[in-house]
Subunit: 240 residues, 2 copies
């Protein structure tokens, strides 16, 4: 099974439809997106694989998804840390940070804390940039992406590997040109850059309806049971 | 395992703490509460037991939890219907109804539609009143509760069996005096009336933190893995 991709422009328009026509709030969409991310983590990296998870969050909604995922991971028994060098301005991001502090999840902002956390983590969640990334990378992100790229710790990318152009894939040089996360979770639908991706691929965000899927020419992922995440290219029996 | 109960007054205060101190929005709390309800349904009443589920929603947040649960159930492949005779006034309830309409979930408001739906359902979700119910029942709820009570269809009650006093349990006479739902899901923590309850009991709402649990003298439910719901009185191996 493969799923049709959605362009960056259409993904933005779809989100807008969900909120302006579909009755969704950003709080609700982000809750389910982040929950999907946490379920993908639990599947590829169970607690026995290591509890320390470093969630690198960008300033926008991709970072917000990472914050929600970290909250769920803390509830599952992981010990996530957040690296949030450029906190976003929306009130929702401030509230998500308050929720994380109540769970004693550290929120790091300095590059030295990031470097230390990177040495002590068993998984990285790349929640830096999502479908709206158009480049170029601005400080401090080139350095962060270089460090993720060089690290031997497995990475799960949220929606798109950060630094990749959402349409045309990895940059030809500089930070990110050798960045190939072990895991990718596409939210709602894969983005065009997925054709350059080699690794385990999931889809999440179980709020798509048939009408919206039809409007944007998307497939309805065949989620199983109560799962909020589906591995793409794997059937219900777990075969590729 | 049994869990400490929380009074109606403390449950209200706990919700207020989550929102005013903890950074939670009602959208987020209701999303996770409704998700828990949907997971409890999936566990006690899998798709093979019947897809038609009648969700009876009251005018407050208990009804809102029912609306969210119905949305998730529709995504799982059930065919829920909502009976919503007195729609609540919050904007969130209107948005949840918009989301349900996008999934073609019928929202019934007349008692004749309710009576017809009752004949054609395999499970009822009682999302009429929750921890803030102080009685007495006002129209049209006495009649609705009588019909649930007389129905042979199994009922899953959300937070408290409707008509029961949250502290002192079932009414001694009239509608609800013989109401004993097959299933109950307590949100955050059981309410005192749970001591009168005989049936399968679940807890949901996986957003409680240790600090809040401590403040209100509650136990932290030992949710397993990524579950958003826990059967109370059953251990991890499924033994009572």
């Amino acid at each position: 099974m493969s799923l049709k991709a959605i362009s960056s422009k259409d993904a933005a328009s779809l989100d807008q439809d969900l909120m302006e026509i579909g009755g969704w709030s950003l709080d609700q969409l982000m809750e389910l997106a982040g929950l999907s991310v946490s379920q993908a983590v639990y599947r590829v990296h169970p607690l026995s694989s290591g509890k320390n998870i470093l969630v690198i969050c960008g300033p926008g909604n991709n970072g917000g998804d990472g914050l929600v995922a970290a909250r769920h991971l803390a509830q599952y028994g992981y010990t996530p840390s957040i690296y949030y060098p450029k906190p976003g301005k929306k009130d929702l991001y401030a509230r998500l940070q308050t929720q994380l502090r109540a769970l004693s999840v550290p929120i790091l902002t300095s590059d030295s804390d990031f470097t230390a956390a990177l040495k002590d983590t068993s998984l990285i969640i790349d929640a830096i940039f999502g479908f709206s990334f158009g480049g170029p990378l601005r400080d401090p992100f080139p350095e962060i992406i270089s460090q993720m790229e060089k690290s031997r710790v497995p990475v799960l990318a949220v929606d798109a590997p950060s630094s990749w152009d959402v349409e045309s894939g990895p940059p030809t040089e500089g930070p990110g040109s050798n960045f190939m996360p072990e895991y990718l979770i596409s939210l709602t639908a894969p983005k065009p850059c997925v054709r350059f991706y080699k690794g385990r691929h999931f889809v999440g965000g179980r709020f798509l309806t048939r009408d919206v899927a039809e409007k944007y020419g998307l497939d309805m992922p065949r989620y199983q049971g109560i799962d909020q995440v589906l591995e793409v290219g794997v059937d219900a029996e777990g075969r590729l």
